[in-house]
Assembly symmetry: C2
DNA sequence: AAATATTTTTAGGCTTGTCTAAAAATAATA
DNA sequence: TATTATTTTTAGACAAGCCTAAAAATATTT
């Protein structure tokens, strides 16, 4: 239906608009897709012709419902494949994204449905991101950043704000995985570092750089 | 490493050379890939430049070891994915090929290895075709066509010569699946039809058109 | 062997997706 | 507000992969 490239553009625009920005500008897209602004303009015109997004010269773009549907479906496939790679093939959570970037473009609705069923209808991917439903609904998670959480609440590690392999590998190294529970015991104004108590009374320190990329849910 | 299209060309040339033909001619490739002879010539030149095949004008092509390796690896991925779709996702054997045509181009050696392990190192795909090993070795099956088999031998249904969905669906309809055993009770010279006895003494007739596309192993 | 038919290659062109360099529009600063 | 800086778009070009039409080579008939 849509090309590998078109899907990647739509997915990128979708993700940028999720991050607050209402109208997405050319350079931001080029940055994410590691391409040139001129190429983005070329593609934007084609996607606008196909009614996948609204475009006004110099004013940026916004997805149409049609475009958003394609984008969300691509995200759905991406996250389902990540579940498959993680749960079934035992890849690490730092390894799944790159392969899913390829698998997300496999075009077969029935395959996606059967994969979903095979995985027992997962709601979140290995990084804690929600998996859109078949009809495009995403249950928004009410996660907060660890650096914004208050002391004396039980927090459940639920996701990451930084999806890079290096960050995920660092979390592996310090044994921080989805599901662990913690309570903040100290927040240091000076450097933004945070001390927490884990279950079993073990304590642990997070630097600001780490704490600002960990998503937690208040239990 | 190699493009979707390059892999398909190499796979096609490989399969044609497996079917006896030593040097593969342009039209045969065009026929399989549903493209034009001129396009085949274009691509052949590029593959020859990359040392994936040997090419002499008007003399046809033959894969180099390098080209054969790429082709066999593509076949390996194709058949492993078919096993996944059939065994794990419960697709019918008439449905797996088309989706595997897409999946075979996913480029990740570790993914292929992990998939192989997840499937418990299958030796044959859902159609009875052998799965090449990681280092490119294919265990040749000594299957024969049902129409060439002799009476009074126990035959095990082991593969198909026709991989089209319509043929596979016909086999579904008459309940012919891999593994069933039979003995030929009658071979009719006139129309090439064959009568067999199945386990449980049920008898069954195969038209020539069907019998010439069923592969059996003598038990 | 000459004529005819078939196969294969070449020539030229099209689409998709990319690029660089330059022009135009917008935003920021003096 | 005028000048400068940044962003965005246009212009022109290129590679991959495909096409049609015509030329060249090979194969088959007569
Ligand atoms: Mn991902
Ligand atoms: Mn992608
Ligand atoms: Mn197949
Ligand atoms: Mn293929």
């Amino acid at each position: 239906m849509y090309s590998y490239t078109e899907e990647n553009y739509l997915k990128t625009i979708y993700k940028l608009s999720e991050q607050g920005n209402d109208s997405i500008n050319t350079n931001a897209i080029a940055e994410v897709l590691q391409t040139k602004a001129a190429s983005v303009t070329d593609m934007i015109k084609k996607l606008a012709d196909k009614k996948l997004l609204n475009y006004e010269k110099y004013k940026g773009v916004a997805l149409t419902d049609k475009g958003r549907k394609v984008a969300v479906d691509t995200v759905r496939k991406h996250r389902l494949w990540e579940c498959f790679l993680y749960d079934k093939l035992k890849f690490g959570w730092d390894e799944v994204h790159e392969i899913a970037e390829q698998l997300e473009h496999i075009n077969s609705e029935i395959l996606t449905d059967k994969l979903d069923e095979f995985l027992d209808f997962p709601t979140h991917d290995p990084h804690g991101d929600p998996i859109p439903s078949k009809n495009g609904v995403i249950k928004k998670s009410n996660f907060i950043l660890l650096c914004d959480a208050k002391p004396n609440q039980t927090l459940v590690m639920s996701g990451v704000a930084d999806h890079t392999a290096v960050f995920l590998q660092h979390l592996n190294k310090i044994s921080v995985v989805l599901g662990i529970e913690m309570q903040i015991t100290e927040k240091n104004e000076y450097d933004g570092s945070i001390a927490v108590k884990l279950s079993g009374n073990k304590s642990m320190y997070f630097s600001k750089d780490v704490a600002k990329n960990i998503l937690v849910k208040v239990k």
